[in-house]
């Protein structure tokens, strides 16, 4: 043994003392507290303490588009693009992204990072937008109602339609001038789809066709619901026989009670990660977005039989839309991307992989053409849920448009459900 001081022992003594010794007498504490309080007057504290509203009252962005920067950062949802050569982490190289890089020379970072509208807004972009910083994204893809909210907050750049010739020429009429963005001033759709139920037929042991199946006690602990408030409430409104678009506060309260009763059966309230849970076999049936199930079927295990249905009570109709957040660093390149994906050939390439409705004219026809050689593509071209017929659409509803006060009330109700 050396002559060094025995640190180890010192530490242990200190530990012992730390637990047994009085640190500050109470009198000391009061004394210091008094000094502290005296030096800060109440008025000065309160003056310094309001949180600025996030809403932008004046436009922040440039009125003219800058030069192309040679770089673009795109945030999108998983399973939403053809991804030949996609690596395990969700970064896409190859397929449409590679074609875009080849065609334009723009270095493209496409990340499948959006799991849930609220979560992405709150965690990834909110703080930057609120403090006038770039979000780090040039394109974000958000569901219709979130686009409305972002426009309301002044968080989206106005688009330069003159830089989007493909878009203005090829967009389907049904997607022009949507309710959430008059005249498409701030957004153009990426894809549209339906919310229904996805399930593993081998696990459930029977066909699923109704929202009631999500309430079947036989599936206790194997049921997935959505953390997207609007999706989940719409389902309950269908179950209650109410048109979601006209739902009142009382309806929401009742729907909340129903959801709370259902909760003991529910395994989780998921964002896009429901796909992960379904693939892992953790949930047997879950609310699901129409196109995802096709992608999951491609990778399903031998003992899985994944399916998607539109419940007989009804399903949700929505669109996800590309928009440019204010102060985006490469807005010109973002326009180039939007324009590129509205090329019908490119849109066909994407749609053949993602199995969601393309807002681009002629895509369905081109897929049907490919269907002559590929039976799968023929199926896609005919799929009534990808290209919803009037009949199917009649059995769907969009989300109710909520003003911020109403949204807060709904959110309070919904928190009681998802936060247990």
């Amino acid at each position: 043994m050396t002559e060094r001081p025995n640190y180890d022992d010192m530490v242990r003594q200190a530990l012992m003392r730390g637990l047994t010794q009085r640190r500050v007498t109470r009198r000391d504490l009061f004394k210091y507290a008094g000094v502290g309080a005296g030096s800060l007057s109440l008025a000065s504290i309160l003056a310094a303490c309001s949180v600025k509203g996030a809403k932008k009252t004046e436009p922040t962005g440039p009125t003219t588009l800058p030069e192309t920067a040679g770089k673009v950062d795109i945030a999108n949802w998983p399973l939403y693009i053809d991804k030949e050569g996609k690596n395990a982490a969700g970064v896409v190289k190859g397929g449409t992204v590679a074609d875009f890089e080849k065609a334009t020379g723009i270095d493209t970072r496409y990340v499948e990072t959006i799991n849930d509208n609220e979560e992405f807004f709150g965690t990834d972009i909110r703080s930057q937008l609120g403090s006038d910083q770039p979000t780090g994204w040039d394109i974000i893809t958000m569901t219709d109602w979130m686009i409305a909210k972002l426009i309301d907050l002044g968080f989206l750049e106005k688009l330069h339609h003159d830089k989007l010739p493909n878009v203005t020429a090829n967009i389907q009429d049904a997607f022009v001038n949507p309710w959430f963005d008059p005249n498409n001033e701030h957004s153009f759709p990426w894809a549209a789809g339906l919310t229904g139920i996805g399930y593993d037929r081998n696990k459930t042991g029977r066909d699923i066709d109704s929202i009631e199946d999500l309430f079947d006690p036989a599936f206790e602990g194997k049921i997935g619901m959505f953390s997207e408030m609007r999706d989940t409430y719409n389902f309950i409104f269908f179950k209650m026989g109410i048109d979601p678009v006209t739902a009142t506060e009382e309806d929401v309260a009742e729907a909340t009670t129903i959801l709370e009763q259902q909760r003991p059966l529910v395994r989780g309230y998921y964002g896009n990660d429901y796909t992960d849970q379904l693939a892992a076999g953790n949930v047997w049936l879950t609310m699901a977005w129409s196109g995802d199930l096709f992608a999951l079927q491609l990778g399903q295990a031998d003992d899985q039989d994944l399916r998607w249905i539109l419940p007989k009570e009804g399903g949700n109709r929505w669109s996800d839309n590309m928009a440019i957040p204010i102060l985006a660093e490469h807005p010109a390149d973002a326009h180039d991307w939007m324009n590129f994906v509205y090329d019908p050939k490119i849109a066909t390439q994407i749609t053949e992989w993602v199995w969601y409705e393309s807002p681009v004219k002629g895509v369905q026809e081109m897929i049907a053409e490919d269907g002559k050689d590929h039976p799968n593509m023929a199926l896609l071209a005919e799929d009534q849920f990808v290209w919803p017929s009037a009949e199917v659409l009649a059995n769907t509803a969009p989300y109710k448009r909520l003003d911020s006060a109403e949204e807060a009330v709904w959110q309070d109700h919904f928190d009681r459900v998802v936060l247990g």
Binding site: G18, L19, T25, V51, K55, G122, R263, G268, L419
Partner: protein, 300 residues
């Protein structure tokens, strides 16, 4: 990790008195930058959080101070189960860690001989891997069709719907796993310093292993037990990762509510109020605990 460290107080021997004002001036100079940092970024935010909790407004329009104390009542009415769970889970996990950690620490300190250091090192080793990855690894191991349950199911030992992940047990299991070393290390430190001759003497006196343990070993290890319990209880009560990754909607803790309110809904007053309640609950818990064990000095 925010945990109570055990070595906070002063040594009984005061530092050498240095009366010259110049030297004292140096002491303040040494303190200033670090304490300044803590004032700016610990104390001030804590005060700010309290002020924020009394504001009203919306994210879009901003939040202004209205002295809305009622929010505390509202929040307690809205999330009583989560508060209850945070505290009860923390209690269960602390007790479980103690039950597992005490024999382990005892075995290492008393029985490991020359392997003592090596075994202690083994206990710390897994914790080089980051917290999130460790927790995800449990989620993977315990998945319904995963390597553990899947195997048991395929040989027919378990029914098809057996599950562990997304249950209360999984959350508690994850917490116990993640915080076990917080219990073991302080216990080891205090057990290891017990002089074996004391135990021999006790053996001669009581000539009974059980009495020796209860009358000598246990009391002497009490500081470690107390420190370990706090080190476990406090971070567990504030945890949300385990409930998020391994839990279900019926296992959410206060931490999950804070995370959602602050980050997803941008409802800062609500998030701040809940944070304050969590902090108060923990301080009260620590105080009661110290009272029960008769060490009221702990909280000063």
């Amino acid at each position: 990790m925010a945990v109570v460290a055990p070595t906070v107080a002063q040594p009984s021997a005061q530092p050498p008195a240095r009366r010259s004002p110049r030297v004292r001036w140096i002491a303040y100079l040494l303190l200033a930058p670090g304490l300044g940092w803590l004032f700016l970024f610990w104390l001030w935010p804590s005060i700010q959080m309290f002020i924020t909790s009394l504001q009203t407004g919306t994210y879009a329009e901003g939040y202004t101070f209205t002295g809305n104390v009622g929010i505390y009542r509202d929040v307690l009415a809205a999330y009583p189960e989560q508060l209850f769970r945070s505290l009860v889970y923390a209690l269960i996990v602390t007790v479980a860690c103690l039950a597992i950690g005490y024999p382990l620490a005892y075995a290492i300190a008393m029985r490991a001989g020359r392997w003592k250091n090596a075994i202690l090192f083994m206990v710390i080793l897994p914790f080089f891997v980051s917290y999130i990855i460790r927790t995800l690894s449990w989620k993977f191991i315990l998945a319904d069709d995963g390597i553990f349950l899947g195997t048991l199911k395929s040989i027919g030992l378990l029914p098809d719907d057996a599950q562990i992940v997304n249950t209360t047990s999984a959350v508690l299991g994850g917490l116990i796993y993640n915080f076990l070393p917080f219990m073991v290390l302080p216990l080891f430190v205090s057990l290891d310093k017990i002089d074996p001759s004391l135990l021999e003497a006790a053996g001669d006196l009581y000539s009974n292993k059980r009495s020796t343990f209860l009358r000598v070993t246990l009391p002497l290890s009490l500081p470690g037990l107390l420190a370990g319990s706090l080190l476990t209880f406090i971070p567990v009560a504030g945890d949300f990762i385990n409930a998020e990754l391994l839990g279900n909607p019926n296992t959410t803790m206060l931490g999950n509510v804070i995370q959602v309110q602050m980050l997803e809904h941008n409802d800062y007053p609500t998030g701040a109020a809940i944070s304050f309640i969590l902090m108060a609950a923990i301080l009260i818990g620590v105080f009661v605990y110290a009272k029960l064990l008769g060490t009221e000095e702990l909280t000063g």
